[in-house]
């Protein structure tokens, strides 16, 4: 009979209406500024720089190799290498800027970094009253501790720490002499 479906629909919406006042589980809205959901581990927004230890300036893992700067598709990274009085490079960035208004959150900088120095943040409340300078993040704003990184992405950070520790251990061991080292395996003949 025509109209039966309409009546059913009306009953359904009426049930919703009453239910939304009586049944808490129906209202799934999270009222954002007051309540918020815990962030998901794999969320990412804009990059930040990781430092070890307590001193943000000294502990910075970045060596200013500029790989990320070159690979950044929208060209939003700007790096200047630190040099001492004699002009020798210091393996430390003097300037490290990321223009987050340009950044497209592609994570390529993180992928290419050989020193695990740049990682993705999940900070998203970045609204500013100034369109220009406020969104150009400086080195001081970008530097975040390794603990912070652990808090954001625990699994990933643990893997990174393990890898860095392994590299450190390898470096600490004396280089094996050519005689004791196993000769390079010849490639298996292709059949």
């Amino acid at each position: 009979m025509i109209g039966k479906g309409i009546a059913k629909g009306f009953i359904e919406t009426a049930r919703n209406f009453v239910g939304s006042y009586t049944d808490e589980s129906r209202l799934v809205t999270v009222e954002y500024p007051e309540e918020r959901l815990p962030p998901k581990e794999n969320t990412r927004n804009f990059p930040f720089l990781v430092f070890d230890g307590d001193d943000a300036e000294k502990g910075l893992r970045c060596v200013a190799c500029k790989i990320c700067e070159k690979d950044c598709p929208p060209q939003c990274i700007y790096i200047v290498l630190e040099r001492d009085e004699k002009g020798r490079p210091q393996k430390h960035p003097k300037v490290f800027d990321i223009d987050v208004s340009v950044c497209m959150s592609c994570q390529i900088c993180v992928e290419v970094c050989p020193f695990e120095a740049i990682k993705m943040d999940n900070e998203f409340e970045l609204s500013r009253t100034d369109r220009f300078d406020a969104l150009l993040l400086k080195k001081e704003q970008l530097a975040k501790s390794n603990e912070y990184y652990h808090k954001l992405h625990p699994t990933e950070a643990a893997a990174v720490d393990a890898k860095l520790a392994e590299e450190k251990a390898k470096k600490a061991m004396p280089p094996p002499s050519p005689s004791t080292a196993a000769p390079p395996q010849p490639a298996p003949a292709k059949t």
Binding site: M1, F10, T13, L27
Partner: protein, 372 residues
């Protein structure tokens, strides 16, 4: 009528209904939210009920953009051409026993004559914008409004036929006699009145472009229809005009079928009429909000088919049923009223089922051969 009371009454009318408009927008947004298990606006004021003030300020301070190629004069006139007839249509509605602005004999005729002018405004808006979506929306609006005007007027005419007057105050007085010692004889308590009321509601929803008949503004199809090129104050005026049109339609429905300013039971006669009218109006608005939260939009062909192949024949049948009900009123034998109800009810219900079959045959369950 002297100038001063007239102008006071006029400003009261405008102020009350503009205030009701503001209240309805927030009621609608909150109600729709709850119908969909959302919260609705809850930021401004207590429980978000001051949201309409913020919305109003936003609307009025927005830039008013007129397209460069638009017909500027017509574009400017269209919102006024919508709002003025809608405001005029309130003048003949009796809100209380003595609370009617213009009590003249052809009140219903005046209402429909003035109401028909809104179609012109909608087309002015669509045509002058020089935008294909606007024009499409306006075309749809014309097709829809003219199609639904017929069942709307026919369902109102049954009342006129039985009451024998076009005066809306007379129509309300006719519903005053008391049945069984407590029930006012509202027209909706008769078979033809019930059917007529449902037909009237459907046609009124179509006339005021409410869902499920909002194809002239269908956001998902043609942006905003004839409102596409409107912004700021003019958009707000259109919005106001549409809601006022809805209130006018609801008021007419209340007057014709729901006993106007009469209370539901005769022992409640002590409370003043306008209170009952306001309560009925709010209930009608709630019904329209509920409908909007429930039904999806119709397609254009479905809409017009429904108007001409279902609404119009049903309205005509209802006409005949009303006549039968009227003449069978002279029957004086026991259980006459039950027999009248049976005959009239069957005369409405059987054609309804037949027409329904006509529709459902065309919408058999679809079988998908290649999907799933």
């Amino acid at each position: 009528m002297s100038v001063l009371p007239t102008s006071i009454a006029f400003f009261c009318l405008i102020a009350v209904f503009a205030g009701l408009f503001g209240f309805t927008t927030i009621l609608e947004r909150k109600g729709l939210g709850r119908l969909q298990n959302r919260l609705g606006p809850n930021r401004v004021g207590p429980f978000g009920f001051a949201q309409f003030i913020a919305d109003g300020i936003k609307m009025l301070t927005k830039e008013d953009i007129v397209p460069g190629t638009a017909d500027k004069l017509v574009h400017f006139m269209a919102p006024l051409a919508l709002l003025i007839p809608v405001c005029l249509s309130f003048s003949v509605i009796p809100f209380g026993p003595k609370l009617v602005f213009l009590d003249f004999d052809a009140g219903l005729l005046f209402f429909f004559a003035v109401g028909a002018a809104t179609e012109l405004a909608v087309f002015m808006a669509g045509w002058s914008s020089r935008n294909k979506y606007s024009l499409l929306g306006a075309m749809r609006a014309i097709a829809q409004m003219i199609s639904y005007e017929v069942p709307l007027v026919l369902s109102a005419l049954t009342v006129v036929m039985l009451v024998g007057s076009l005066s809306l105050t007379d129509i309300v007085r006719e519903q005053q006699p008391v049945l069984f010692g407590f029930l006012h004889t509202w027209h909706v308590f008769t078979p033809w009145g019930l059917a007529g009321f449902v037909l009237f509601l459907i046609a009124a929803a179509a006339e005021s472009n409410r869902t499920p008949f909002d194809i002239p503004e269908a956001e998902s199809e043609i942006i905003a229809g004839y409102l596409t090129e409107y912004s700021g104050f003019k958009y707000a005026l259109f919005f106001l005009g549409e809601y006022l049109g809805l209130f006018a339609m609801c008021s007419l429905g209340i007057t014709l079928f729901l006993g106007g300013w009469l209370p539901p039971f005769s022992f409640l006669d002590f409370a003043p009429g306008p209170i009952w009218f306001a309560l009925k109006l709010l209930a009608m608005i709630a019904l329209f909000i509920w409908t909007r939260g429930t039904l999806p939009r119709l397609r254009v062909d479905q809409l017009l088919n429904f108007a001409w192949k279902f609404m119009l024949p049903m309205a005509l049948i209802n006409f005949v049923v009303a006549a039968i009900w009227h003449y069978s009123g002279q029957w004086i034998f026991p259980a006459a009223i039950a027999l009248r109800w049976l005959i009239c009810g069957a005369l409405i219900f059987v054609p309804y089922l037949l027409f329904a079959r006509l529709f459902t045959r065309r919408f058999t369950p679809r079988t998908y051969r290649y999907a799933d």
